[in-house]
Symmetry: C2
Subunit: 389 residues, 2 copies
């Protein structure tokens, strides 16, 4: 032991801080969204072991409720131990083998991220492209499938950067002709807009905890169907990612309960409660609530003269993009709303950077009083800048 | 919208549960360990945005306090958004290029995991092996370095599966002769036993939140020094892992604050408080406390006739392995302790499976009253089975 004490401790980085005192915010941007108070209380429960019988039981509950929310019977349906991008990477890492042709529908920032990820796993990546604010038609998808014969087609159900909903009905039928797996980004749709993994023939899907589920970010729903499981079983090499390898993770989440990694147990306490509340409300009611409040917001924004980016038919109920009125400094406006009212709204990403605001109404935050408060403040502040139509 | 409502919702998996009611446990196994009550309260704070100025400030605080706890000036010192294995994978993914020779010291389960991970990133993996319970001498390390000329040497500072501390003083000097980076697993040592990243010349290190730091699992300290940063900058291809790519992550955690992924903000609230408490106590005091309580446990276990696996000189102060007395069903004994007393202890892993118990005294749980309670119960229960020496 003596040798261990020879080294003097350096106190250069030893700062002395006051107890944490983060501000209270109403999060009406692209996410995270506010968590339900019941969920926050669950996070503060004392941790238990990741192999404790009580925890194993909680895992079963979480998986079953996730199947309901995803509308799937998929055996491998779990929360990944990371935020939404980790679940996105899990979907790529477990399905892509080097050389696989992966066709990605890129109509925003998150489609672009899928391209980057698939490339890192050795895919031969092809893209279909659409400007931000638009989606892909079945005809375009059919043509691209016939051109590229991909092993995987990746689409973003809810493009958080633009506010576009990609219709998915009929896509799986096209995929089946070329033996293509359908992979779908549901980060901004799960629990908030209609989603039917099994009926729509989705093979791989991922989401997050901090939007439709009203839980803080940190564990992220993932589901893979039988065809994707088969591709995983048949692959020649190991999954090129240990932490997210579903063949190992399924031995923990499945019947065997073999230790893989120490789970983020408190985050799972939170998502358990978030899912319990959603099962109580029912997904139809949650979907209707999101639709109702989104429509209230759209009407209000348009009465203020704001122009919405996305056509109503494919506009997300969770996230609305509106052009910043001419003459308004969108960034300064958002910052003042945060500093003076404690309300967070989002700016644009990618091609829409600097041009739009993004307004989120997700999970617990999809409530008419929030819509009305936001609209009232926009009206007042835009008027003060002479920017009201 | 009409088409979205044509599909009927299936309620097969819609279970109705009571509010969460996880049991209270005293976690005296290999981890997770109990969290400090102040940390748990921080977890329950309402989330704020990952680009909120208040959150960016909290990130700076967390990084600075991590540098103190790690005893390093490393610029890239962050909590990875996952549990300890994600931070382990970050250390491999960011340092290994395909074909690199990686030498791993394997004297337990977690060394074996490093081999698996390095292999997935295309390393040419070589191993030094030692039975569980032993560590590597400087002579062995020198010989192995001369034999393999590795790009990276990976050692486990605190082998959670056996309870062995690997002395690290002098290893970096040997590594420098072959231009080898030193990568160290500190999952069960950070904040609890002496550790000096810079003085010991460690290039890459990772840990977890749920042991020495008294926080639940879910975000995991990681640090990389200038030589490792240079190797990252010089690599030919992208890091084969998007979520853990430090060249992207550093643009968020560094001065630029460029969005990478949505951070697990509440977990970071927790680790901020955990680190604040550790800065308040001081690492020397925390190390001394762990040593003191470990010695109290060792004395007690030995008085009960239990044989410890690891020699005192290299025995961890955080985790003690003891052989299960002859005639005792170790698994049933541990389960009874959990069910009847709410105390979790661990079983063996790998070659020690079924042969040992693992007793953890980490962070907030390294307290004499816990030691005494555990020893009292062991005495009583072993006596009842006629297994007391």
């Amino acid at each position: 032991m003596a040798s261990l004490n020879l080294q003097a401790v350096c106190n250069d980085h030893r700062i002395q801080l006051d107890p944490i005192n983060t501000p209270s915010r109403l999060l009406l941007g692209p996410g995270p969204s506010n968590a339900h108070p019941t969920v926050l209380q669950a996070l503060a429960r004392p941790p238990i072991g990741h192999l404790d019988p009580a925890y194993l039981n909680l895992m079963t509950e979480v998986q079953e409720m996730l199947r309901y929310v995803w509308q799937t019977d998929n055996r491998i349906t779990i929360p990944v131990s990371g935020t939404g991008s980790a679940a996105m990477e899990a979907s790529i890492a477990n399905s892509v083998e080097p050389g696989d042709v992966v066709l990605v529908g890129v109509n925003g920032y998150f489609g672009r991220r899928l391209v980057d990820m698939a490339d890192r796993y050795g895919a031969d990546v092809r893209t279909m492209e659409r400007p931000m604010g638009q989606c892909f038609s079945l005809d375009e998808i059919r043509l691209a499938l016939e051109t590229h014969h991909p092993a995987i087609l990746a689409l973003v159900h809810a493009e958080t950067s633009s506010g576009v909903r990609q219709p998915l009905e009929g896509v799986a039928e096209l995929c089946s002709r070329s033996g293509t797996l359908l992979l779908v980004d549901c980060v901004t749709s799960l629990g908030a807009i209609p989603l039917f993994l099994d009926a729509w023939g989705v093979d791989l899907a991922y989401s997050c905890s901090q939007k439709g589920l009203s839980c803080p970010p940190g564990c992220s729903p993932f589901s893979m169907g039988p065809r994707a499981e088969q591709k995983l079983a048949d692959r020649k090499g190991k999954v090129a990612n240990w932490y997210l390898d579903m063949s190992l993770l399924n031995a923990y989440w499945g019947c065997d309960r073999v230790y893989h990694h120490t789970a983020p147990v408190n985050m799972n306490f939170g998502i358990r409660e978030a899912l319990r509340l959603l099962c109580e409300e029912g997904v139809e009611a949650a979907w209707a609530r999101h639709r109702h409040n989104a429509e209230r917001l759209w009407d209000g924004l348009q009465s203020l003269g704001l122009r919405l980016v996305v056509d109503e038919e494919i506009r997300l109920h969770t996230l609305t993009t509106a052009y910043i009125p001419e003459g308004v400094d969108g960034k300064a406006f958002a910052r003042a709303l945060l500093d003076e009212e404690g309300i967070e709204i989002g700016g644009g990403l990618g091609d829409l950077a600097g041009k739009v605001w993004r307004f989120g109404l997700m999970g617990h935050n999809s409530r008419s009083e929030h819509v009305d408060r936001l609209l009232g403040l926009l009206k007042q502040r835009l008027a003060a800048q002479g920017a009201l139509a």
